[in-house]
Every structure is written in C-alpha cells, then in structure tokens.
Subunit: 458 residues, 3 copies
Amino acid sequence: MARNSSHATGLRVQLPLLCFVFQAAIVILFSFFVRYNHETDSSLWHQSNHSDMENDFYFRYPSFQDVHTMIFIGFGFLMTFLQRYGFSSIGFNFLLSAFSLQWSTLVQGFFHSFHGGKIYIGVESMINADFCTGAVLISFGAVLGKTSPVQLLLMSLLEVTLFGVNEFILLSLLGVKDAGGSMTIHTFGAYFGLVLSRVLYRSHLDKSKHREGSVYHSDLFAMIGTIFLWIFWPSFNSAPTNTGDGQHRTALNTYYSLGASTLSTFALSALLSREGKLDMVHIQNAALAGGVVVGTSGEMMITPFGALMAGFLAGTISTLGYKFLTPILESKFKVQDTCGVHNLHGMPGVLGALLGALVAGLATHQTYGDGLKSVFPLIAEGHRSATSQAVYQLFGLFVTLVLASLGGGIGGLLLRLPCLSSPPDSQCYEDQIYWEVPLEHEDEVQGHLRSEDTETQA
Amino acid sequence: MARNSSHATGLRVQLPLLCFVFQAAIVILFSFFVRYNHETDSSLWHQSNHSDMENDFYFRYPSFQDVHTMIFIGFGFLMTFLQRYGFSSIGFNFLLSAFSLQWSTLVQGFFHSFHGGKIYIGVESMINADFCTGAVLISFGAVLGKTSPVQLLLMSLLEVTLFGVNEFILLSLLGVKDAGGSMTIHTFGAYFGLVLSRVLYRSHLDKSKHREGSVYHSDLFAMIGTIFLWIFWPSFNSAPTNTGDGQHRTALNTYYSLGASTLSTFALSALLSREGKLDMVHIQNAALAGGVVVGTSGEMMITPFGALMAGFLAGTISTLGYKFLTPILESKFKVQDTCGVHNLHGMPGVLGALLGALVAGLATHQTYGDGLKSVFPLIAEGHRSATSQAVYQLFGLFVTLVLASLGGGIGGLLLRLPCLSSPPDSQCYEDQIYWEVPLEHEDEVQGHLRSEDTETQA
Amino acid sequence: MARNSSHATGLRVQLPLLCFVFQAAIVILFSFFVRYNHETDSSLWHQSNHSDMENDFYFRYPSFQDVHTMIFIGFGFLMTFLQRYGFSSIGFNFLLSAFSLQWSTLVQGFFHSFHGGKIYIGVESMINADFCTGAVLISFGAVLGKTSPVQLLLMSLLEVTLFGVNEFILLSLLGVKDAGGSMTIHTFGAYFGLVLSRVLYRSHLDKSKHREGSVYHSDLFAMIGTIFLWIFWPSFNSAPTNTGDGQHRTALNTYYSLGASTLSTFALSALLSREGKLDMVHIQNAALAGGVVVGTSGEMMITPFGALMAGFLAGTISTLGYKFLTPILESKFKVQDTCGVHNLHGMPGVLGALLGALVAGLATHQTYGDGLKSVFPLIAEGHRSATSQAVYQLFGLFVTLVLASLGGGIGGLLLRLPCLSSPPDSQCYEDQIYWEVPLEHEDEVQGHLRSEDTETQA
C-alpha cells in the first residue's frame, strides 16, 4: 500500500524533478537577467549622495515584513482548519510561496522593471512578489485537499505568469489604480481558483466528507492565520502605495474597514444560525472581507466613514455567501470551494473594484489637492477625467475576470493530464498520503473512520 | 436543549441587534465628526512642504503594528489556556477589540483631538484606540468564561467611555505622565474588571470548576499569547512617547525590565511549588509584569539598573499574587478573577504608578538636559516642581482607582439586568453554548464530564 | 515519588537560587557599568541637534523586533515538536533567553562599547544581545530534553561569555566580516552544543526513545517556529549591517536564498523517502538553511544569482544531513543531537563562512564603488587586499571552531558535576518532572507508556 500511494502521489519522482527543474531554470534566468537596483547595489547607491534614510528600505521594509507574515503565517495557518490536512496546508503553502515569489520576481520584472535587458530588484519587487504569491494562495484555497503538490506547482507556474500579464494590462496599459489588489490579487486569484476547481469537479467527493470538517484544536490553529491576516492587512494595502500621506491613509482606511466587517460578521453568524450559535468558519474568514474590499480604494480619499461602510457591507456579503451561496455553488454549479474563497476574495474583491471605480469617479482636485498627482496622475495631468478613470477601473475588473476565468480553465485542463496523479476521492483532505504522520494520529484516524462509518450507516 | 441554550445565550437576537446598532451609530458619528488629519489627508499633507519621511507614519506605524499584534494575538491567545473556552477566548477578544477600537476613536477623539467640531485621525489615534482596547481586554480577563458576548459588548461600551474620561483627567487636566499606561490602562482595566467581577459573584461557580483548568495543548496556545505580549511590550510602552531618544529609551527600559521579571517569575514559581515544579500559570502571566511596571516610568530616565530592579520586583509580586492572593480574593472578598488580572495588571500597575511618581519626583534639568521639555514640559517651563509633579502622579493613581471602581460597580449592576442572559453556573468556561463546536470535541467533553463526575463524587 | 523528582530536578533549591544570584549580580553590574548611550539618554541626545528621525531607533528597531520574534517565538516553538516536552521547550527557551540577553549586554558591552569605565547601550546592543542569545538557543537544541534548567542556565553563563570572546577576536582583532553570524552565531552555537552533547553522551537514551518523536499537533506548533524564523531571517541578517544599501541588500539576498533552500528541501525530502512521503523534520529545519548560509556574505555583493545558489546548496546539504549524518553522529560519534543543529546550523554555518571568504576574496572597488568603505573598510583603506581579507575570514572560522569545541567540552564537564542533577535516561523529553502538567495529559502519557512498553517488549 505504501508503494502504491507513493506511486499515486507523484512525490517520489515528479515532485523532486519539478522542484529541481524549476529552481534550476530560475537560477539560470536570475544569472542572466536579475541585478540589484540603485538602492540595493553598493556601487550605484554610493554614486549619488542620498542620506541613508532616503533608501526605500526604511519606507517599505516594515510593511513588507507584515505582508510576508500574512503570506506564510496568515494564509498558511488559516488553511490548517481541516482536521487531518494541517501538514499539507502549512507545508504546501510554504512550498508554493517559496516557488512563486522567485518566479514572480522574473515575470513581474520582465513586465515592470526591465531596463537594458536587466531586471532590477529591491524591496518593492519583494512586496510585488509576495502580492503575486497571495493570488496563488487564494486559488490554492479553492482546491485545498483535492490536488497534489505536483499539480499545485504547475498551477503556480501558470497563475504567476498570467497574474503578471493581467497586472501589466491593468496598471501599465489601462492606468488602473489597484494598490491593495482587490482586482489583481483577490478577484484574479479567486476566479482563477474557482474555475480551476470547476474543471476538476469530483462527483464522489462525499467519500472524503468526514474529513472536510475541523477539530477543536485545528480551528484554533486556523485562528492564528485569521488574526495575523486581520492585524497586518493595513500594511498589505499600504505597502505599495505612495509614501507619506498615501501609505498612512491606506493603513487607516483598512484598519477601520476591518473593524466594521468583524462586527457585521459576528452579527450575521449568530443571526443566521439555527441554534443561535456562532460559526468558526464565518469568524475565520468573513471578518477579513473588510481588508479585501478597500484594496483598490484604500489609498483614495474614501473617508473614514466610507471605509466603515465598505467593511460593514463586505462582512455582510461574505457571511451570507458562506451560509447560502457556497452550498449552491457546489450543488448547482459544481464548484467545490474548500475554503470559500468566493466569499472572502471573490465577491468582496469585485465589490472592492466597483467601490474603487466609484471613488475614482468622484475624485476632484479640491479633495486631493496636490496629492492628486500621486493618487491619480493621469487625471492630475489632464489626460483623463475622473469619470473616464472610473470607466477604466471597471474595464480593468472586466479584463481581470476574463483572464482569471480563462487561466483557471486552462489550468484545470492542464492539471487533469493523466500523468499528474491527484488524490483519489476517498483520500482527499488527508495528510497521510503525502506526509510521514506520527503514529498517534493514524490511530486517531482509525478511530474516526470507524465512528464515522457507523454514523454514515445510521 | 439546543433551543433553550440559544434562548439563554441571547445570541440569536440580542447579539446581532447590539452589533448592528453599535456599528450603525459609529458609522453615523464618523460621518459627522471624523476626518483625516493633516498627515492622512491628501490635500492637507501636500499643502505644506514636508519630505514624506517626516510623516508620523514612519515614526509610529511599526510600533503600532506591534501593539496591534499584542491586542489581537497576545491577549487573545493568552486567554485560550482554558480547556474548552478557546473559541470564546480568541473570538470574543476579536469582537470586543473590533468594537472598542472604533468606539474609542470617537470617545478619545472628542477628548483629545476635537477641533472645530471635527475629530482628526491618524496613526496616533490608532495607537490610542488600541491602548484603550487593551484596558477592556484586561477587564475581560477578570470575568472570562462567566459572561455572555452581549454582556461583554455592553461592558466595553461603558469601559471605553470611562477610560476616555479618566485618561482626559490624568493627561490633560492633571498633566500626569503615563505613556505606557500603568495607570490609565493596567490599573484602570484591572480594577474595573475586578469590581465588576465582584458584583457578578457566583457562589456556585464550583459547578464549572472541572472546566476552569487547562489541557496540555491549550497551555501551548496560551504561550503564543504570552510570548507575543512579552516581545512586543517594548513597542507598546514606546509607541506614544516622544520621538527620538524618548521612544528609544522607553523600548530599552522595557526590554530589560521584562528580562528581570522573567527570571524572578521562574525563581518564585519553582520555589513556591510543593513538588518543586514550575507552574505554567505563573510563566504565562507573571513574567509579563515587567512590562506593566515600567508603563509610566519607561520614558523617564529610570536608568537600565532601575528598569531591572522594577522588573524583578514586579515579577516577584505578581507570582506571589497568583500563589497566595488569588485564592483569598475569591474566598474572602468574593472576587473571582479568572485570569488573575489583579496579579498581572492590578498590583504591577499600581507599583508602576508609584515608581513613576518617584522617578518624576527625582527629575532634574541636569539629568534630562533639554529633553526635560519633552518628558516633563510643565517642569521645564517652570509651572511645576519635580515634587509637585510627583504629587500629581499620585493623585492620578487615586483618580484612576476611584473611577475604575465606580465604573466596575456600575458595569456590574448593568450586566446583572435580567434581560441580559449570562451562562448558568454549570455552563461557565464552556464554548458549546456559544459556538458550533466540532463533534470530536463534544465527545471528548462527554468523556471529561463522566470522568469528572466520578471524581467529584469521590 | 513527587518529592524524589523534586530532589532529582534541582528545581526546588538550585533553580531559584541560580536565578536570584544571577539576577542580583546582573543588577549590581548594571548599576556600576551600564548607561544610556547618546541616542537613548535624554540629555546627551538633546545636546547635539539631530532631527529625531536620525536616531538609530528608526533604522534598526523594526529589524530588532523581527529578530526578537525569531528568538522567543521562532526558536521557542520550533522546539515544541517533541510530543511531551512542549512546556520545557518554550519555557526553558524563554528562561535562557531572558537571562542571556541581560548577561550578554554586559559581556558584549565590556568588549565592544566600554568607554571611560562605562557600557553605553541602545538598540544596537539589544540586537547584539539577541544575537548572542541565538547561539545559546542553538546549543540548547542539541541537548534538548536531556538537561535540567539548572544545567542550561550554567551552560548559558559560560556560552555567552565565550561567545563574547570569540566575537571580539573575529570582529575587532581579525577584522572579519560576519553580520548575520554564520560563524559567530551558527557555527559557534552548533559546535559548542554538539561537543557539549558528546560529553553528556547517554548510552541508555533509548529508554526515552518512545518520547523523542512528535505528535500531530506538536508538529503544527513547531511549524509556527519554523515559519517565523523563515520570514524574519532577512531582518536577522540585515539588522546589524550598514544602513542604506547594506541593510537593503542583505535582506534581499536572504529572501531569495531562503526561497531556494525551501525548494531543495522539499525535493530531497520526497526523493530520499522510502515511501515517497515528505518528512516534517526536514521541512521544519532544512528549509531554514538558506538563512544560515548567507549570514556572512548577505551584506556583500553576492548577487541575487549567488544567493539562490547558496540557498539551494544549503537546503540540499542540510536535508542530506538529517537523513544520513544524524544517525551516524549518534551511532559512531556518540553525539546525540536532538534538533539536528549540526544539519541546520553547523554545516550551513561552515558553508556560509567559506562562501563569505570566497565573496570577500572577489571584492573589487569596481563592484562596490564607494560602498567598499562600509562593507570592507580595511580593503578600502588599503590596509588589506581582498585575498588577505579572505584569509582572515577563513582564520575566523578556524578560531570559531576551536573556541566552540573547547567551550563545549568545558561546558560538558561543568554540567556533569554530581551536584547538578540531570533527568534520568528514562525521563528525558518529559515535561512532568519539571512542570505541573494538566491531568488529561498525564493520563495520555500513562496510555502511551503502556502501549509503548508492550511495543518495546515485542
């Protein structure tokens, strides 16, 4: 059985091969193309006479570290809620992120900082690489427990590439504003993952139903992820915005938006429960929707009041989604969304894009003063009216939805290649096929299986 | 039973109602009163010609994020030590904090940054809002497991308001120095919670005694909270102090004070144990007393030696409190203090206030140089002698104790309103009446109950 | 039995005594020697007219906080993988660190910032104190579960002192560069601990074999440590480097080195497994080798390509070490290395030192420009050729290995003093002899013991 499983999982040959090939390719590409930028290169930095404190490091590195914590601790532990998939959740999150941040450095570099045949990197490219990784992890959440690490690495290869294309179209070609990534990260990652999950639909997933839930302590581990995502989201949205009032305002807006989404999530979770009990799934996820929804508009003059309204609305929609939409998605649309990314990233992301278009459309020189140059350069320079900026924002959302869906579809077909083994329906959400699991747990598992078999018979 | 419990908990109607009403009120008040300040408003910031790095964001945001981590991860996980109350500990900590930081923005805004009918906010108001939330969470620790979320939200509403009043009297009217909040946060939060707990005294709490302890892994979850509180406390005490040497010195003093309190805690925990074993309760809590005790004096020239002495003393007193005082508080004074906040925040807070008065009384222009203007402006400007500053500090402690006790008393009477259901004596420290708890745990619980019933019979 | 164990552990008398004596000595020494430096002293800072933002606090404190998190959360939780040693892992990590950071402030102060009979401290001394603590915790990892807290405190006293001597010889006398401590921290800590473990060799440790493994949730707790170490390692290596491009470049190099070591670790873990399953031990440890290996060269112009190569190699060597070397170390060389520090810190540390020598040897004025003054002052000032700098680097590694081995040997003999009780072979990796452990766990333990006894008989 051991041998079979090792065959089935592709861990003995395909995973090592893929890791080695990917890493080798990245090393070679780095050697040809990637160089230190003028703020990380010893000689370049010392040519011009800055004071050291002007180095971008001091403006962005603390925010980067918060983002980095969200990617590896936040997303990683949020997905450990599954009772027997903790090793895979935190472990594959670790693997995919370590690969994606390297690969996206190249992809984003080619699109955004390619000068004279070289890619120049610094803390901003680190932030962008982590952001792109975030989109991959959102898609991972949709197919969590139903895909092998080999499949996931291939998904990352494709998604990082398309993320770069989409981001380039929006930010560079369309002049769309989306600092916190309501569109480029959340909407893109969610719909890429959902379409992918649709293509990989499993009609007999109920064979693993007994493993899809949480246990008491796995829910507490998941809360580590939730809270770190929640507290650092203001840093996430503000990490790439303009320095000075830009970063400051974005963090402030996100802080209040999250506060409001948390209250609406608790309210609806209790209100919608048959027994009048709170549901950990809602608290772990929907409370975060306030961060997603101000991803685009957080740097704009949305006002503290607007941030609260946005957060409140996002928490409400997200909780309703978990309660009513997720079951329908599976039964009617054959989309099996393990973490409910449609509720946390999909709908709040789209809402955030629409909100961003609205706030952009209301932009006036009076409200922004000379800061208009930083937030809406094209409007400030008279190339665009606020209204047309709003239209471009909406078009950006459209492009994102199209590219994400196409990408997810292609990705799904790719992952269905016969050579790529994926876990059998009866072994989904199960660490033991990929990990050496300590004995005690296996025992426990046997216990569970027995008790659950009897239940299912009853 | 399910229906009853939902009736009993007030989760189906009262909690959603309260969340919606509170959030709606906050949204409306924000729309009328809350505005971006000159460092978060695009137009205001760009009127004056600062360099971006002068924006307060770069002086305070990293410290704010550490404080934010302490509030949501630190306090939240510290309280997960209870074997069956982890969901409620981390969940209600989340809810109360999300509400309190919004409400305190308004309350503190009216008292501290109300100009021309508007409240202007930025990173400093975010730090102050988190600080006020800290006081609420300290009180929460005193009544942990014995109050419903509805009761706790009402408690927060009252406590945040009184916190603002007390803070205004101390800092603005009395010119008291208390950057790290030994008085305004720790003393206030502790005695507010202790008096509240006294009013809510349960004579039959022993019916839940079997649930008041920890289990092996719940103690490890609690250590996540302890360590994050411990490592970030230097940021907590220094977050609101004067920039430059002020923040730097405060962080340094707190760092060494915590080191000393940790050693004295380990020493006493082992020394006082009958079997010569360390007690997790002491390590999880008393080791933090070093942060509380330099809350007032941390920004002053207490000297590294003084910081060590203060921390050593605080750890000692706190551990002794857990060992000898807590049992007496319950048996003699009918104060049931779940987390022992009297030992971690009460006594060390008062000690910190006295220490602050002492160090203030010793302030000389020679010691502080031109920095005296920043630390003790009233002394520097000759409005006050060092001695009278010391007297004001002591008076500030007195005011804090009075207001906290009054507030806790009123709060207790409020929370005893018949319409506010609180958990029955037999259902305290139990997640299942508020949360959908995964099956496996209920089983476990049944197991526990049985084994414990037999015990209690024995 | 309880009384015996308390005798055996030395917790009732020796531990309290040691804590009190150590803390008292530190307090006295601080009162005589330790003073605020010009950036933490109110009067000194305000004498010169800096702008506040020039205070070193704003250049280094955020990095310090990341380092602080690595020391107390990272190392602490990484060691909680043991099924019944979680309290001791996180608790003793806490105690040793709280003592070491105070003691190293004095030791390093005497060697590095002793002017006019006083030690002047600020954020840099805090970073250095945490760094020295890191070395102690690495040694702790080698003897984890087999030593009493009393033994560990004495080990720390000795190791911190020798760390200071070694660091002084390398950085001050030899002019060696080692910002991230591949030599001073990782190599020193690892070989100190390994030799110590050799001297404390237990031929009957198999009596505790059944406790040396992990359980499902203890592996998840350990991942908290792993991930926090991984995400903050760029801050660790860059915390003490030159401001501006130095810190920025170091963080960047470490970021990519870690990415590569993670991929090679996953690849090899799967490749080397008999059943084609990933091993948590590899993921928890070897993935971090990328941070260790660029500890010396991270601040140099290693290029992003070089950082990737280094990381890839380090992850490979480290995983191979866990798979093949650790068993041999125990069977052939009688070195029992609980956490495999030889694989994570020893070999990657030596490799990092060699890499540092290589990169130093290749240093040219052309590559570094005027930055050569900051990275290699002795070369820039013409006191040394790049080649001789490389030789000095190699000599620094040699000195480190000698001092670490000598220190570990002396330490081992010291810890074998009859008066110092250490846990019996049958009680290693067991919390219950040092901690009040909640009932539920003891039961579990009994269960284990029974089942395992039967096993061992079979």
